[in-house]
């Protein structure tokens, strides 16, 4: 986990150097307002989830109630089988997709960083990334028919394929950038020693790329975890992932705020925590390398 803490500490806000002034206090005030706006909906949801009974006339939920864990107990306790199954599905789907995307992405990323290809490396990278630009419905419609014919509807392999496809561009890009920044002499030295290309990759490059590998894994996992649209069509029974439960929160009991916010918080916790661990890689990952972080 050492790599993660390094990733967290890496970006340091470059200062516009000057003394602490009245202006600085204004800046801190503005930063606090931004932080409040970003966090308060989550905070409100947390408070709402801790409130099991709504009385009419309750306007401000956090001034006039006694917090309890009934909603959370219900989500994991009595109504827990559905929740646990969806969480299991989400975990397995995201793990599988991450494994596929990171493996393919690492190989392709290494290739693109180290070799020259006839069609042009730039074209190849753009081609890998272009998937992210497509409106998902355009591929969703044929996926329904393809999966029906291949008997992949509502299966783990089917959902892994879908999510690996979405996240592969992130993995390719993060890995390519990292490999390109490693000194080429290392690889050349290993090759001179008689090691083959693949041995050099496994023994030299891959261990050095561990931080990027961690980042790619976490980003792919977080994005797979959040995917809803394809799941809503391709996996609506046995392999329903957690976002599907969140989407269906109202049909179960009308809109019960405590219930809805509990589910919502469960859904957002995993990717939000993962994202905090890979802040350094996020800028490049999200702009497909167009802006160096």
């Amino acid at each position: 986990m050492q790599d993660n803490s390094a990733a967290l500490q890496a970006p340091i806000v470059k200062s516009i150097p000057r003394r602490r002034t009245f202006g600085d206090r204004i800046i801190i005030g503005l930063a606090l307002i931004c932080t409040f706006i970003a966090f308060s909906p989550f905070g409100y949801a947390i408070l709402t989830s801790l409130k099991s009974e709504w009385k009419s006339g309750d306007i401000i939920p956090f001034l006039q109630f006694e917090p309890d864990l009934l909603n959370w107990q219900q989500e994991f306790g009595s109504g827990g089988a559905e929740t646990m199954k969806a969480l299991r599905n989400s975990s397995l789907i995201s793990l599988g997709a991450t494994l596929v995307a990171t493996t393919l992405g690492t190989l392709a990323g290494y290739g693109l960083a180290r070799f020259k290809y006839g069609v042009g490396n730039r074209n190849l990278v753009s081609w890998f990334l272009s998937q992210r630009f497509l409106p998902p419905v355009a591929t969703l419609i044929p996926f329904v028919l393809m999966f029906r014919d291949l008997k992949l509807l509502d299966t783990l392999p089917g959902m892994v394929i879908v999510n690996a496809t979405f996240t592969l561009p992130f993995a390719v890009l993060i890995m390519r950038d990292y490999f390109a920044d490693l000194p080429p002499e290392m690889r050349e030295a290993a090759l001179v020693d008689g090691a083959g290309e693949f041995t050099t990759f496994m023994r030299i490059a891959l261990p050095l790329a561990r931080p990027a590998l961690v980042a790619s894994t976490l980003i792919c996992f977080a994005f797979s975890w959040n995917e809803f649209l394809f799941a809503s069509v391709l996996a609506n029974r046995d392999w329903k992932p957690y976002p599907m439960l969140v989407a269906g929160s109202d049909t179960v009991r009308g809109i019960d705020f405590g219930f809805v916010t509990t589910r919502m918080l469960i859904a957002v916790t995993v990717p939000v925590i993962l994202s905090l661990m890979v802040q350094r890689f996020i800028v490049r990952g999200l702009t497909f390398g167009a802006v160096k972080g």
Partner: protein, 292 residues
């Protein structure tokens, strides 16, 4: 293993994956768009009739719902892109100072971006709720009165937009902050000899230096805004009526809910693919040096 064979072995698995699961579906989708396929019926080739029907070419009437949903998507395309750029740049400017606690706060500010959009939509349901939601309570407390966020068309559109802006402002923020941090300090130091005004410094140094990154982010936001479906799906179900239904949501509904008119839905989606191709071509043209 020769160098030549090895290099293709690294690349090929990824290439094959994209060919099979992105390129092939895209071609398949185009083929479908030329048929009148509905689930459970045999597809028949009808040429570009689906497209003619949507666009109202020839003796067909234009698909009114396609137009109205496309106009809501255009509303988000403009409104959400512009708002996230402005707010994101402002937040980045605020956080581009070396002051205590900004690092910790910065991590919190990026949180909305990583929450599942479908869950963010539900968060909106709670926050915008007309009776007990905090937004209406605050508005009433300020004496501005309550807003019927889910009943009236314009407030509903704005609720979807605000929710999307809340989620995506951090995206602009982290990217623009990174590009602000790449500006060398001495540029500011020499400029500070001429002016003390923060606004002047921003206008003459910061803005020109972040302009390329802003252009990049703008294109990415444009593409993403055309894909919006999860948030209205859970926040408004496209309502009231269908005023908050986005174009992709309409294509989704047409092809994958109810009557499963896959051919027509594929044609709807394909029209958007063309827009996406145009925007992404501009994007890749702009950032070509990075990939060289």
């Amino acid at each position: 293993m020769t160098n030549n064979r090895a290099k293709y072995l690294f690349l090929m698995p990824g290439v094959i994956w994209i060919l099979a699961f992105t390129l092939f579906p895209l071609i398949y989708s185009f083929g479908l768009s030329l048929t009148n396929y509905r689930l459970g019926r045999d597809p028949k080739y009808i040429g570009f009739e689906n497209y003619a029907e949507i666009l109202g070419i020839g003796d067909e009437k234009v698909d009114k719902k396609a137009v109205s949903t496309a106009s809501f998507s255009a509303f988000l395309f403009l409104g959400s892109t512009a708002s996230t750029l402005i707010f994101g740049t402002f937040v980045a400017w605020v956080f581009n100072h070396s002051l205590p606690f900004l690092r910790q706060m910065r991590a919190i500010v990026t949180m909305p971006l990583f929450a599942a959009p479908i869950a963010v939509g539900w968060l909106g349901v709670v926050i915008f709720n007309e009776q007990s939601g905090p937004i209406n309570n605050v508005l009433e407390g300020l004496g501005l009165g309550r807003v019927n966020w889910f009943i009236e068309p314009m407030p509903a559109r704005l609720a979807v937009m605000f929710t999307d802006v809340w989620q995506w402002t951090p995206f602009v923020f982290i990217i623009i902050l990174a590009s602000m941090q790449a500006i060398p300090d001495d540029l500011y130091e020499s400029a500070r000899l001429d002016t003390k005004s923060n606004w002047q410094l921003f206008k003459s140094i910061t803005f020109p230096m972040i302009a390329p990154a802003l252009g990049t982010v703008m294109l990415l936001r444009m593409v993403e805004s055309l894909k919006i479906i999860d948030i209205p799906y859970s926040l408004t179900r496209g309502g009231p009526g269908s005023v908050t239904q986005t174009y992709v949501y309409y294509a989704y509904e047409k092809g994958l809910v109810g009557s499963f008119q896959l051919g027509e839905a594929a044609a709807l989606a394909y029209l958007l693919v063309i827009v996406a191709i145009v925007i992404s071509s501009i994007y890749f043209y702009r950032v070509r040096e990075r990939f060289a």
